[in-house]
Symmetry: D3
Subunit: 295 residues, 6 copies
């Protein structure tokens, strides 16, 4: 598989600059004595997990010391063992201590998500069902926390409100039913945008397929209910295609507890979406150690 | 006690605008059918906890609908029960759905921190020892995640690298020892800035007090070691004052597991700092429910 | 049909502020004498067309005079006749003259696109084939120029590089063929993202369908070639579905001259994409007229 | 003649970053497979014209790949033939495809303006009359579209509301006549700022000269009317100078159709201003071609 | 005379927001106890001077409290006596104290410039010679410090590098002499831009006029030298006009000590430019006083 | 002593970019003829003083010419003699002239502050009393003007509203007296933040110490009054400590005229704060000289 990639685009670089400014404020009071002295440091994992954000750490240090030498020993998406050294740095001492906390905070948070995602993905191994994230991400970190999910082996759900349409209960109620709502959204959305309908009952799911949904998000169904419902919806999709509508239908389950992933995976759905890795994971414990000063 | 306050300053408002833009991107594809229709909604707690960020949610919705009517039923820092209604909203339907996810993400994260902080603070009740946070906060959320700690009953440690100086192991090594390091930092720092020294051994702690530190952060000592060390350091501070130095000395413990808080509190220290509420807490589960459309 | 809507989001408002600043620079030298005087003005169409951007004009004037009274007489997407009055304004004279040029420039450009799009769409009337735009838009105006295409009756193609994937000749060559390229992109893209392949020959189109493309962009084929190719591709899609692949297939033509739209529409394709309305249209001629000053 | 120059100032670079972000959004989904592979490409003109924006294209690519090698074969302001190669690029494949559309959109728009301007300027050749642009430019592109006019051989009119004052009909009406308006504006404007008055009748033109205007913009006069009026205004200017006023007077015609330029040029005016090259020109057709991947 | 005006444009408002953020940082620690309490305050002049920036102060307070009531008792450009009350405020107590320092700093600096300018202008009274400022302004305050000069009765010189051209010694040397330099700059500059040449000797001044300069800045000449030179240059300008060149010529002196203004004014020049009011003035002493709290 | 240091952080670099844009605007009209020509220049002091901002000047020039060669001959905080050369530059001629004014303006202002501060500090030499600045700084220049005070040998007072709390008369009145006010602020402030109380009478000073203030700012007391009061307050602080409160107490005088510094220093206070160096100093006169062009 192609490993995840994360180009440091101008927009991302602007965020990195802002995060450094947030911690440094009007100047690092403690670093004053270190200006101009070259220092060496490395990062250690203090617990096992999956790395995410290594290139971001390097970019943060480089923003304060463009001449910094950095060597990433572990790629994003790869496993880390407790005690493993993952990054080596050499550069201006004041820059290293000024960016240290920001860099660690970012990579610890992202690696925590990647680690938790990898554990969830492992529960689905062999099932052919994919694990998707949600839009429950920390404000300001959407792109990076979605990237973390990919580093953990998950697949991203829509990235924002603008790359796919998702009709929920209130959209349907307000628009005069699912058929009208689907038509209204299709009319204004870009043609490549998929249209997903969230269903909380069998009747809603059936109506969504008939109305032409590309995907149905089946929320808080039991595994048994899904096992019965999924084949029925697939039949409806074939009937829909025969009538000139779309043939393909993606079925997604949500509201699934982590320990039930395998049970849901057996129901015939295509993917399971969960925010657990983003809303209930701990940061991965990483540490930065300095070598004695060179000069 | 004065409840925590959170003015929506221009700088904070700019962040809120950016977070909305992050989710909305090039436009909410699904909201198209809801433009111009007035909707009513409310927020529910799905689990017990401590609220943090209510005024931020209101501000986010108002950025998309300046005429929005909002009523906060619970103040920041107050407890929430599962099922409790905390916020009522009435305004443009498209604005409500476009800001929903961003507002929930922010308040769920902050309330998770406040809830976890409150639980830690409860362990210290009656001890007279305060619970402080750290600089381990999500990039971009420093001010708000520090506010969340206050909502949970904690006290903030320094806000950034510029409002207090903290000398760690590497600063000391690089500067020729603690006395030289303290002198160098004092010379350049604003006079009101406190100077804290992190000590990992008794010898370092003693040297820090002698060098004139305002506070010593005692990292990864056992409760027993602290019980022995603290009185000795207080004596040294009195001696220091007698010699013309500062008399006051704040003693802080770190590296304390949540279930050991009470044991550490009995050691005579002044405060305990921990990142647990920020790096190991789950988001508080909140939900937004829409009423049938009015028009 | 639901008319196009354009909420003035915080991100859009920031652009409007920037555009005013671009023209005003260090201050409007001529407006000095008009400060504090209430003025009335209206906008006239000097040529027939389709309006796009009315609410943007109002928002621009309001940024300089929050108390401005404005009345839009024509909605975006509606036709304008030469001489028709479309907007009435009353407010601070200095604000009206300072925002005049920026507002006119924006609405004239957008209405030019809407007008040209409407003419192209008219050529396809009754064919069931939709007219799509492209990513050839003026830097900085992507969202608005895409909105203008909708105002003219067109449908938007992807909005940027992040809401759908499109494999072009070079992607295919670099990735070891279409099957490998499709697999690589699918692995990293969000699951709702559609995957489009651009084909310049029958062989490429066939390979794209077999590799699982959701859509094929058929570039610079003749109408006759398309008429022969389209049914064959649809058969291949059914075979693909029978083998467990996706069943749906969108076929899109590009490289079509405006006077050939009807001929291409008869070939069985689903939509035609063209940049003509964005790269070869004139601005719609609009004018702002002032009434004598009131005070 | 000194060729036009376009330093990439910090302000311009910030715009370039924003335009890349506009297209890339949350990440280029298709480029994932190309990261780290070196690619070669070149740009071709598909139609004849005048180039404008070459250095901007290079700067855009370099923002995504600082190591990019670029060779501009044609300078801004020089003519292009159909089929001519104008730019050669070698660098990271993912960067080349991610910046491709933004760079082409910008250079195609600017070259379209330069090309149209050059055609208008050619109509005036030998007349000694200069062709000036206007403030009808695309929002956000003022500086660049003014530069494009220079690349086409035109001269810029004022750059914004702050570098010269221009009194129009409404200014005059509101200020109690041209003399009062001129006095009010002169009092507050920087001394180097020229003061232009727009006149729609002979009487207004005469009043403007008497009131001390540095220039009169004669709008929608016929060539014959101008031929009669111009000498009279020059006499008035000499009389004005004799009375202690300014002696110099610039006379400018506007509202001139492109096919009438020569006729107007013969009337004795100094320059003709027109927005035609900015509001009625097509983008110049350019294309980017990739060579087979190197690695 | 029309009093100076200062619209709070979006660009200026953005600066005001940034200046508040600079002082407030991560939050006003002292204001916590004042949130939600209405307070009344007023501003007093503690020394005589000329007010500049009153509307900026009001705008700053309103950014923190949109409901603030403010009454300006003195207009910008008007004189202040020691002890005079100039502004009355009523609003949220926390907002008043949080914006107090920023607002005072800005208005004290600007009023210091206005006051110093007024004193210099008074030296020229009756001479018909105007006093101009320079580009020596505090970084970030160009527009406002130029406005302050107008409030003091001065006239602005060019506002930046883009609204007029000024050839200095080095430009001339590098371009092959004044004639070549003038020609090169004229070719690329907007037609309304004036071209000024700085001359440090009689020969340079003569060459500048012959080369077609609109103005000559005569730097560090004695009053006697100017008295002899000015008529000669005016004659040259008339000869230039007779030869088809520009007739008007503005003559400006610089390098003039404040106590020599009257002597220079008698030399026949048109204006004197000086940075003294911006680089050698004290801030005007203003103070904010609070009334006892209402609630 | 460690010399002051000033890392060019991302936040500071963003300000430098903005200041260049402020002067350059839409482009340097005069520099056109100099593009691509290498030039050499140096900076001279025209008056004696203390340098502040040398690295900022270099950074400004480098933003326009990344290849610029610069050599600083004098470090920040060091004395300058009239006529002394302090900076040598070699780079693109157009970049040098475009950044010249901005760089000089910044360094002249900052060096003026450093020079004035050094003179005040000299008055205190040998007294053991330190000279502190205030929050009276030019909007936008807080960090740099505080740095200038350090370059002159002063110590910084608090940097903003968020790094220390200072209770003034109105805070005290509004909060129900000094004890209540101190308690309210302590409860919400970070624990390292010092709490200062401003006192205008002996009674207020006494109350402040009793309430637990870390420091008392004694405003507009006479030297004699201070000489009597200071020992009394120190006694109170010892009593406070005996009762379990803080032992340390910093005593600061304000409202001191420059010629009275020595008299106040003898009163037993710890430091004197004054805004004189920021609000009543002239810019240090510096000049940039160009060598003849090389190419």
């Amino acid at each position: 598989m192609t490993p995840p990639s994360l180009p440091i685009t101008p927009a991302l670089e602007a965020q990195l600059r802002g995060w450094l400014a947030e911690d440094i404020g009007r100047g690092d009071l403690t670093a004053a004595a270190l200006v101009g002295r070259t220092a060496q440091a490395h990062w250690l994992a203090k617990a096992p997990g999956v790395l995410c954000g290594g290139p971001l750490a390097v970019a943060l240090f480089r923003l304060l010391d463009p001449q910094l030498e950095a060597r990433l020993l572990v790629a994003d998406g790869e496993p880390l063992e407790a005690g493993q050294r993952l990054l080596e740095l050499s550069g201006d001492g004041a820059a290293l201590v000024a960016a240290e906390r920001t860099a660690l905070n970012l990579v610890m948070r992202l690696s925590g998500i990647a680690t938790a995602t990898a554990a969830l993905v492992a529960s689905l191994e062999g099932s052919g069902v994919r694990l998707a994230d949600t839009r429950k991400t920390t404000p300001g970190l959407r792109v990076l926390e979605k990237y973390a999910a990919r580093c953990g082996g998950g697949v991203n759900h829509r990235l924002g409100l603008d790359d796919a349409a998702m009709l929920k209960e209130n959209h349907l109620a307000w628009s005069g039913g699912v058929a009208a709502a689907v038509a209204a959204v299709r009319a204004g959305a870009p043609w490549p945008a998929r249209l997903i309908v969230e269903a909380e009952s069998e009747a809603e799911a059936v109506a969504a397929v008939r109305a032409g949904a590309d995907a149905v998000l089946l929320d808080e169904f039991s595994p048994e209910a899904l096992t019965a419902l999924v084949p029925r919806l697939r039949v409806l999709a074939r009937e829909r295609a025969a009538g000139g509508g779309a043939a393909d239908l993606m079925l997604e389950a949500s509201g699934v507890a982590p320990d039930q992933l395998a049970a849901y995976a057996a129901s015939g759905i295509d993917l399971i979406s969960t925010s657990a890795a983003h809303t209930r994971s701990a940061w991965l414990d990483l540490s930065m150690r300095f070598a004695p000063l060179l000069a």
